[in-house]
Symmetry: C2
Subunit: 209 residues, 2 copies
């Protein structure tokens, strides 16, 4: 739904043709979210199908212009007036990966964390470098302003990811220590039924139930 509304928002500044929408949207998000060309046209078609937009005449150069309709305007308005739903957030691949790595046979979660941490930090550096090369936001340049905000969003999110990874590692270390002492204390069960956590490289072809 983000592209749909993004295009609508751009069209409220006046009629545009496809390629221009693409470039305007990109100039607002920097190169970070390069929008594939085709998506603009398919999305425009869907918008037209839903009556939020109409194809309306041509450019001086013959480009087909799209114009926002009243219905589109009200749709856009209600988009701005309602928050993005954070109560069921999009799936995050990294979170799923860690959740799986916790007890995957032959996988050490801490390796996964370290690997990712390194990669994410690198991305972070790229972003901060990018930001350092960007002048302080110009008050009358909405496009550049927008792109700075987007960039900062990426920085905030990325930093949070690093902190989360560190947190995970600390927690796992703490847990491993606890499990270690417990095992040393009482020599408890090693391989409970099927879904125990095989530490190390056991990789059995378990097959049960």
């Amino acid at each position: 739904m983000s592209i749909r509304h993004g295009l609508l928002a751009l069209l409220e500044h006046g009629p545009r043709y496809g390629a221009r929408l693409r470039s305007e949207l990109e100039s607002r998000t920097g190169a970070t979210w390069s929008l594939n060309v085709g998506q603009v046209y398919t999305t425009l078609n869907r918008l037209e199908r839903d009556g939020l937009v109409v194809q309306d005449g041509e450019d001086s150069s013959g480009h087909a212009l799209y114009r926002i309709t009243e219905e589109g305007r009200s749709e856009l308005d209600s988009w701005f007036r309602s928050p993005v739903d954070r109560s069921n957030p999009p799936r995050d691949e990294l979170a799923i990966k860690l959740a799986m790595a916790v007890n995957a046979p032959g996988v050490d979660v801490r390796d996964v964390i370290q690997l990712q941490r390194h990669h994410t930090l690198r991305a972070m550096q790229d972003y901060t470098r990018l930001k350092a090369g960007t002048p302080e936001p110009p008050p009358d340049r909405p496009e550049e302003m927008a792109w700075v905000l987007v960039l900062e969003q990426l920085i905030f999110q990325t930093e949070a990811e690093v902190r989360w990874l560190d947190h995970c590692e600390a927690r796992l270390v703490r847990m491993a220590a606890a499990a270690g002492t417990r095992q040393a204390e009482a020599g408890t069960r090693q391989d409970p039924a099927d879904d125990g956590t095989p530490r190390g490289r056991s990789r059995r072809a378990s097959r049960s139930r």
Copy 2:
């Protein structure tokens, strides 16, 4: 790609049937990312098509069991051994919305920010409350462990979003002040050509170029 690999990872613990995969995946992510039933089956079909999985016999109750293949195992392995790419992150609807709100006619960015801030904070409270109700992670319960990590990821991300929103507002206030003084100083241009930023609720039907 996250569901694909998530299912593969579960199958490495042994053959499973569709519905069981669904429930196991959900128990690792809590109710936060409830996986639609149909997606499991379509994904399994694709996995089978790609040779990462085979349908292999039946349950005692007649459920069709899927088993991971060697190819699937190596695919999974390379997933765990390579980081999630953060150099071109997924589009974030909120970031796009703010980027658009910056100069959308008839929209005050700060309203959008405040609205979202409120909503995001509420989500944050839900998460922390959920976490408070969860006992400290049990060392030998990988599923619960995984779900705690996922929950904490959500908390970290959500918190970062709130901080970003605050940062945006501060920046916009600062910017508005700067623009204000500049205007007071020199009485500069109010509506540059087409893409100026109409402050307040002007909502003109702009149509230009």
